[in-house]
Amino acid sequence: MIRIENLSKIFKTSNEVHALRSVSTHVEAGDIFGVIGMSGAGKSTLLRCIAQLEKPTSGAIYIEGKNITELSGKENIELRKRVGVIFQGYHLLMQRTVRDNIAFPLELSGIKKEERYKRVEELLALVGLENKADAYPSQLSGGQMQRVAIARALANNPSILLCDEPTSALDSLTTKAILKLLKDINEKLGVTVFIITHEIGVVKSICRHVAVINEGELVEQGATDEVLSNPKHHATELLLGISNIAEGGDAE
């Protein structure tokens, strides 16, 4: 579904930042794939490259078999509709109601108003926000805003949902509810979920596969149980809390 080959990204500011160093991985269709790493490890950069918000310095990304850097403008827009994205900061349109936020991608596709709103009703039911259709984002809680963002990302029936720390701004109960929603979406709609996080709990609770990224390098990956029960890299141990930074030993 998503294949990444030797992906590197260098940011050229005053100095060069190697945000990604030859990252390769593969996400299968229907999977919930987690990418975990410390702050600054390059997680968001990886997602942003897949979402085409950042141009890779080298390497290739294939989505559904197509190299995304080689698409024409029109193919590109089509592809973007097959890939939904949600962010930690929700990024909703503040001057639009919940209904019109969710309808927004459909509006971009030129779908008629009546059809648009019919689809919005389905999406509102899916994320459990039927009673908030006419509210504005500023009237919602963080968890509700993320639900709106999820509904919006699903409006065009994408095959992939990319999530950049979707629960990092939420309390633990709300986090649980959002993760359950993502799992439901994966199971009921068959959407492949690619989720970035720095919390091991997120990986434990929903990811079937996980990749660990450390200082721009993908240091280990595999089935979640295996990676978590038998961590091979120090970074994984740190994230698991088995090891701590100060002592490099046991965290007990």
Partner: protein
Amino acid sequence: MMEFFMEYKDMLFEGSYETLLMTFASTIFAYIIGLPLGVTMVITDAHGISPQKTLNTVLGTIINIGRSIPFVILIVAVIPLTRFIVGKAIGPVAAIVPLTIAAAPFVARMVETALQEVDPGVVEAAKTMGATNAQIALKVLLPEAVPSLIRGFSITTITLIGYSAMAGAFGAGGLGDIAIRYGHHRYQADIMWVTVVLIVVIVQAIQMCFELAAKKIDKRNK
């Protein structure tokens, strides 16, 4: 008091009307020029959705030059253009030309600032949905900036009331003209003060209306 009012009311009404005409007409024309200019500045900015360094620098320079020319000089400098467009260089309609030219670059900057306040994350989200640049400008940047744009519109209008009074010194008519003719040339301070009060009232009314509208329309703090 009553006599004073009866004697000068027609003149003061006419002056107020001319001031409002000059102000609103030039505000609208200034937006016709300045709004697309401001949007283009934001879009072609290095961090914009379609960076174009040369175009951005050229437009930015034109805007800066426009903004730095003192208005009194501008009025005189554009007289040939005013004659060409309006057919004469005197009167409130003629004053619309220099007022528009003075305000357009100001409007461009105001629009630019308003659009820059829009959360870049929302623009990115729209990109991930396959929005074209035109759709981002028309469906994200402008609508999200509306409250801020309304406040900018109010500031522009008020600034132009001040400018229109200055244009009054050059025969543009309006309340500024009256203040100068009676207050300065004929030492009738009472009339001058009445025009000042009228201008203050107009400015306050405009400010209040637009502020209310901006508050009502803004959905961010509800």
